[in-house]
């Protein structure tokens, strides 16, 4: 009876999770959706407390108080620019929790002498491996995004792929050992240690601009680890919620890969983002004598004659924290009757939706943020496009040169607008390490400087003019 009540409550929680995620389909309903999801979680947690195997609440209360305090502080203190790191580390905690629960379940089964069937042991091994990979992979991703301990650039060494495969096989081998001999509890922890190494090795070679894919993939893993733990405990609540999240992460991963025209294998293993040999020299040839530099005053005049402006933000805007001056620019131009919109590339920034969050923080209405396809279909009518801290995602080489590392990647076609303004510190290449002929195009003006200062100066010039 008690067990039925618990399971029905888990069903209710699962339905609330689905409604919650459905609410995220529109900014208007999203806040409510998130709250519905939280209510589902609260129901699941409260009803679990009546489970008859719980005999003491001491540890539970300590754990919940400590966890809530840490989680709340992190969630409230983090600036919006630090969001990629936070999402990465939260994924890791989910994976870590799963590996602890699976480990505890295996030990418990051995102590109480309850059945350790094949389903339980296989699921324990899977939960331990995915959990450890998620935890350590997320930790490395966090360090790369925060730029502490590990370099944000790809870290590569010879024999890397062979080593990865050997480590993976070792983890699977130890997992198989647990299935054959469930009494070997210590083997579980050896397996977790090996899988931890795998998590580190898998994320270390991945460069900064490929982080959206990694963060989405780890998001998916954290869900799959929870689902696997559900199979360990025969708990439907875990299976349903975990697989919803697993599916969500997989969709985002696919979207990110498509937006770069690369396969998941290429993102994970190719180590893109290192030095491209001769890149600088090739850049000099392309740029020589063709770069037109502009000033804030000149730019203010160009904008005054415009009717439609498209702003294309990239990771540089996040680094310079230029979103608030950009909002001022948006307001200034709108006041003068100029239509201003934003074109957001799916992989701009360091995680899916990164630019949207920053612009929302700066109070830009979300209906002004255009998706790539829509922005491109309207680019012919745009008088001035302003590229702010983006590079590879506006590089026309992706369309024209099939041998380029970004060949076939969908880009925002700013070169089709009447005038292009590129705000950038220098002519240095973007993440792909290749020169950008857009900078040398006839209709392009380069406005050199730090993103934030450049926009502030531009705003001042517009006010004066």
């Amino acid at each position: 009876m008690r067990e039925s009540i618990i399971n029905i409550a888990y069903l209710v929680a699962s339905i609330l999770f689905i409604f919650g995620l459905k609410g995220l389909a529109h900014p208007r309903t999203a806040v409510r959706g998130n709250l519905i999801g939280a209510v589902g979680m609260l129901i699941a947690v409260l009803v679990t407390m009546i489970d008859q195997s719980i005999i003491s609440f001491e540890m539970i209360i300590i754990g919940i108080v400590v966890g809530s305090a840490i989680g709340a502080i992190m969630a409230i203190k983090i600036p919006m620019t630090g969001m990629p790191q936070l999402v990465a580390i939260f994924n890791g905690f989910g994976g870590g929790a799963s590996l602890f629960v699976a480990g505890a379940a295996l030990l418990e089964a051995n102590i109480t002498g309850s059945a350790t069937g094949t389903q339980m042991t296989v699921a324990t091994a899977i939960s331990g491996i995915i959990g450890a990979v998620t935890f350590w992979g997320s930790l490395v991703a966090f360090c790369k995004l925060q730029e502490v301990v590990v370099s944000g650039n790809p870290v590569q060494f010879p024999g890397q792929h062979v080593l990865n495969i050997l480590v993976l096989l070792a983890a699977i081998g130890l997992g198989a050992w647990i299935v054959v001999d469930p009494s070997a509890v210590s083997t579980y922890w050896y397996m977790v240690a090996v899988a931890s190494l795998l998590g580190i090795l898998l994320v270390i070679p991945i460069g900064g601009a490929d982080m959206p894919v990694v963060v989405a993939l780890l998001n998916s893993y954290s869900g799959l680890a929870a689902a696997a733990t559900g199979f360990v405990l025969n708990n439907n609540g875990l299976i349903i919620a975990g697989s919803l999240v697993g599916a969500s992460g997989l969709i985002l991963t696919t979207i990110m890969c498509k937006a770069m025209n690369r396969s998941l294998a290429n993102v994970m293993f190719a180590g893109v983002g290192g030095e491209v040999v001769g890149g600088a020299q090739k850049g000099a040839e392309i740029y020589e004598g063709k770069i037109k530099s502009t000033s804030a005053e000149e730019l203010a005049m160009v904008l005054e004659g415009a009717q439609r402006v498209m702003i294309v933000p990239g990771y540089g805007m996040a680094v310079a924290q230029a979103q608030h001056p950009v909002r001022d620019l948006y307001n200034l131009l709108e006041e003068r009757g100029i239509k201003v919109e934003f074109a957001v590339h799916p992989v701009a920034g360091r995680m899916p939706g990164h630019m949207n969050v920053l612009l929302a923080e700066a109070d830009i209405p979300y209906d002004k943020l255009l998706e790539m396809e829509q922005a491109n279909s309207e680019m012919g009518d745009v008088d001035v496009s302003i590229v702010l801290g983006a590079n590879d995602v506006v590089n026309p080489v992706a369309r024209t040169d099939p041998t380029s590392p970004i060949a076939g990647m969908p880009i925002i076609d700013v070169d089709k607008s009447k005038t292009v303004v590129v705000i950038k510190r220098s002519l240095s290449p973007g993440f792909a390490g290749i020169p950008n002929p857009l900078f040398a195009a006839d209709n392009t003006l380069m406005y050199f400087g730090d993103g934030k200062k450049a926009i502030v100066d531009l705003n001042a010039a517009i006010k004066e003019g």
């Binding site: 919650g20 905690f93 989910g94 505890a104 418990e108 599916a247 899916p352």
Partner: protein, 92 residues
């Protein structure tokens, strides 16, 4: 029916429900989607509560406690930060 088959059925169908629901989320909300779904994956908390409360041995209790802390960070932090972000989108 074998309990494993039942679990597997639930797993497979949930994946499809996930695909259907998530495909409708617009790119502008992809970050809150990640943090919000991540909070949901903190559902491991309910398994952790049982480990921490059952007290089969000191080791399982400590593992359970660690799991409760990790999962609670995930749940509380995840829903909270998602709420913070979504509020910004709602302002208009």
């Amino acid at each position: 029916m074998d309990i494993f088959v039942i679990s597997l059925t639930i797993f497979a169908l949930s994946i499809f429900v996930g695909f259907e629901v998530i495909t409708k989320v617009p790119p502008t909300l992809h970050t809150p989607l990640m943090s919000g779904s991540n909070a949901i994956s903190g559902i491991t908390l309910i398994g952790a509560l049982i480990s921490a409360g059952a007290q089969h041995s000191t080791v399982t209790t400590v593992l359970g406690l660690c799991a409760v802390i990790f999962a609670t960070i995930n749940v509380v932090g995840g829903f909270l930060v998602t709420h913070r972000m979504l509020k910004m989108f709602q302002r208009k």
